[in-house]
C-alpha cells in the first residue's frame, strides 16, 4: 500500500493546474454539471410518466437498453463521432459531458417514475377525496412519498457519473482519471494508485453527502423514523424488485 503515499506525499503534486486540488475541482465540476442536466431532464419526465402512467413501457425499455451498452465504448464512440466537428477547446469536453448525461438519466428517470407509481393508492385517493387538484396530489402527496426512491436514483446516477468521468480521462478529459491514465502511460504505478484512492474517496464523500441530504429532506413520516426500525421493519427505501434499477458504477 506504501506506493500510494509516495505520490500523494510529494508536495509538488498538490499545486498547479495538474495538482491534486485542481483535478478534484475539475472532477466535481464535470459531476455536478452532468448531474444538473440529468435532473433537469429526468425529474420532470419521471414525474410526468409516474403521475399520468403514460409512456412507462417506453421508458423502462429505453432505460434497460441503455444499461446493456458498455459505458466505455459509448464514450469513445461519441467522442470519435462528434469531436471532429467541434472547436478544439470543446472537442473532448462536450462529448464527454453528453455521455455522462446519457448514462446518468436512466437511474433518476426509472427511480422517479417507479417511486411515484409505488405510492399507496389509498393515500392518493384520500388526497383526491380531500379535494386536492391533480398538481396538489403530485406535489403534496406523491413527491414526498417518492422522495426516498428519487434521491436514491440521484445517488446512483451521481456515482455512475463520477466513475464514468474517471474513464473519460482516456479521451482527454481532465479530472482525477488523469492520474490513472497518465500514470499508466508513464509506467508510474504510484501515480495511478493515488488517482484511484482519490476518486474512491471522492465517490464515498459525495455518496455520504447525498445520504445526508436524504435524511434532511425526506419527511420523517415517510421513513418511519418515529418508530424503532429493526431490519425486519425497515422502511421500504428500495424494495428488492426496484433494486434492479440501481445502476452499477463503471
Amino acid at each position: 500500500m506504501g506506493v500510494i503515499w509516495d505520490y500523494l506525499g510529494n508536495s509538488s503534486h498538490w499545486s498547479g493546474p495538474e495538482g491534486v486540488p485542481a483535478r478534484v475541482l475539475e472532477h466535481l465540476e464535470y459531476t455536478f454539471l452532468a448531474l444538473a442536466f440529468v435532473c433537469l431532464i429526468a425529474l420532470p419526465l419521471g414525474l410526468f410518466v409516474g403521475h399520468t402512467g403514460r409512456g412507462s413501457v417506453a421508458i423502462a425499455g429505453t432505460a434497460n437498453a441503455l444499461r446493456a451498452l458498455p459505458d466505455f465504448g459509448l464514450l469513445v464512440y461519441v467522442v470519435l463521432l462528434i469531436s471532429g466537428r467541434l472547436p478544439a477547446d470543446l472537442a473532448y469536453l462536450l462529448p464527454s459531458i453528453l455521455v455522462l448525461v446519457i448514462l446518468g438519466i436512466p437511474a433518476v428517470l426509472s427511480a422517479t417514475y417507479a417511486g411515484i407509481q409505488a405510492v399507496d393508492p389509498a393515500a392518493r385517493d384520500a388526497a383526491k377525496g380531500m379535494g386536492m387538484t391533480g398538481s396538489q396530489v403530485l406535489w403534496r402527496v406523491e413527491v414526498p412519498n417518492a422522495m426516498p426512491l428519487i434521491l436514491s436514483g440521484v445517488r446512483s446516477s451521481m456515482l455512475q457519473i463520477v466513475a464514468t468521468a474517471t474513464i473519460a480521462a482516456y479521451v482527454s478529459l481532465g479530472g482525477l482519471g488523469r492520474f490513472i491514465i497518465d500514470g499508466q502511460s508513464q509506467r508510474d504505478y504510484s501515480q495511478m494508485a493515488a488517482g484511484a484512492v482519490l476518486v474512491g474517496l471522492l465517490a464515498i464523500v459525495l455518496d455520504l453527502l447525498v445520504a445526508g441530504i436524504q435524511r434532511l429532506v425526506v419527511s420523517p413520516g415517510v421513513t418511519g423514523r418515529f418508530r424503532t426500525a429493526g431490519p425486519r421493519r425497515r422502511p421500504v427505501l428500495i424494495s428488492s424488485s426496484q433494486e434492479g434499477s440501481v445502476v452499477p458504477t463503471t
Binding site: P70, T166, I181, A193, V199
Partner: protein, 213 residues
C-alpha cells in the same frame, strides 16, 4: 466493420471468449460467496446492518479505482486479468448479498412453519425451501450483475487486459469509429447471451411458478 472483422476474425473471437470468461467467473464466484453471507445477514439481525453497509460502500467505489488498487492489496501484477476478476467479484457479492438477505427475510412465516411441520430442519430446510423461494429475486439480481460485469470488463482495457474493450482503445487510437461500434455490438450480444442463460436457468429452477399459473 465487416472488413475489420474479416481481417481480425480469430483475434476478435479470442477477445470475445476472454471477455465472456472475465464477466462470468466473478458472477459464479460472487454468487457462491453471497449466499452464505446473505444467509448470515438474514439470520442474525446484528450482522445485517454491517454487511449491508459494507456492501453499499464497496459498490460506491468506481471500478477503474478498484482495478488499479487491486495489485497493491493482493500483490498481483498491474496488467494481470486477476485484478479484474477479483474486483468484479467484489461488486457481484456487494450487489447480491443485499438482494439475497432481503429475499430470505421475506420468505413468508407460514411457508417456513409448514416446512418445519413437514420435517425440514437446518440446512435441508434452507437448501430445499428458503433458497428456492428466493430464486426469482436472486435471478433478478444476477441479471443486473451480469449486464454490469460485461460493461465493466471492457474498462479493463485501460489497464491493458486484452478483451472486447481493446476494440474501444484500438478504435480510438486509429480514429476508426466502426471498430468501436463492433466492440459495442459484441458487448451487447454477450450481455444478451448471459441474460438469456440466467433467465432460462432461473425458470428451470422454479418449475412450480408455471405449475401454479
Amino acid at each position: 466493420m465487416i472488413a475489420y472483422l474479416q481481417d481480425h476474425f480469430q483475434q476478435t473471437v479470442e477477445r470475445f471468449y476472454t471477455h465472456a470468461w472475465l464477466a462470468v467467473l466473478p458472477l459464479v464466484i460472487g454468487l457462491v460467496l453471497a449466499i452464505p453471507l446473505g444467509w448470515l445477514a438474514s439470520r442474525y439481525r446484528r450482522v445485517y446492518p454491517g454487511v449491508i453497509n459494507l456492501a453499499g460502500l464497496l459498490y460506491t467505489l468506481p471500478s477503474v479505482a478498484l482495478f488499479v488498487i487491486m495489485p497493491s492489496i493482493i500483490h498481483t501484477k498491474i496488467l494481470s486479468p486477476i485484478n479484474v476478476v477479483v474486483a468484479l467479484t467484489i461488486y457481484t457479492v456487494a450487489l447480491l448479498v443485499r438482494v439475497i438477505a432481503d429475499a430470505l427475510i421475506s420468505v413468508p412465516a407460514d411457508v417456513r412453519s409448514a416446512a418445519v411441520a413437514m420435517g425440514f430442519t437446518g440446512p435441508g430446510r434452507f437448501l430445499r425451501v428458503d433458497l428456492p423461494i428466493a430464486v426469482p429475486v436472486i435471478v433478478a439480481g444476477l441479471r443486473v450483475a451480469a449486464a454490469s460485469n460485461v460493461g465493466l470488463v471492457s474498462v479493463g482495457a485501460l489497464i491493458g487486459v486484452n478483451q472486447l474493450g481493446s476494440l474501444f482503445t484500438e478504435g480510438f487510437t486509429l480514429d476508426v469509429g466502426s471498430i468501436v461500434l463492433l466492440g459495442i455490438l459484441l458487448c451487447v450480444l454477450l450481455a444478451l447471451i448471459l441474460d438469456t442463460t440466467i433467465v432460462l436457468t432461473g425458470r428451470r429452477l422454479t418449475t412450480w411458478q408455471r405449475a401454479v399459473s
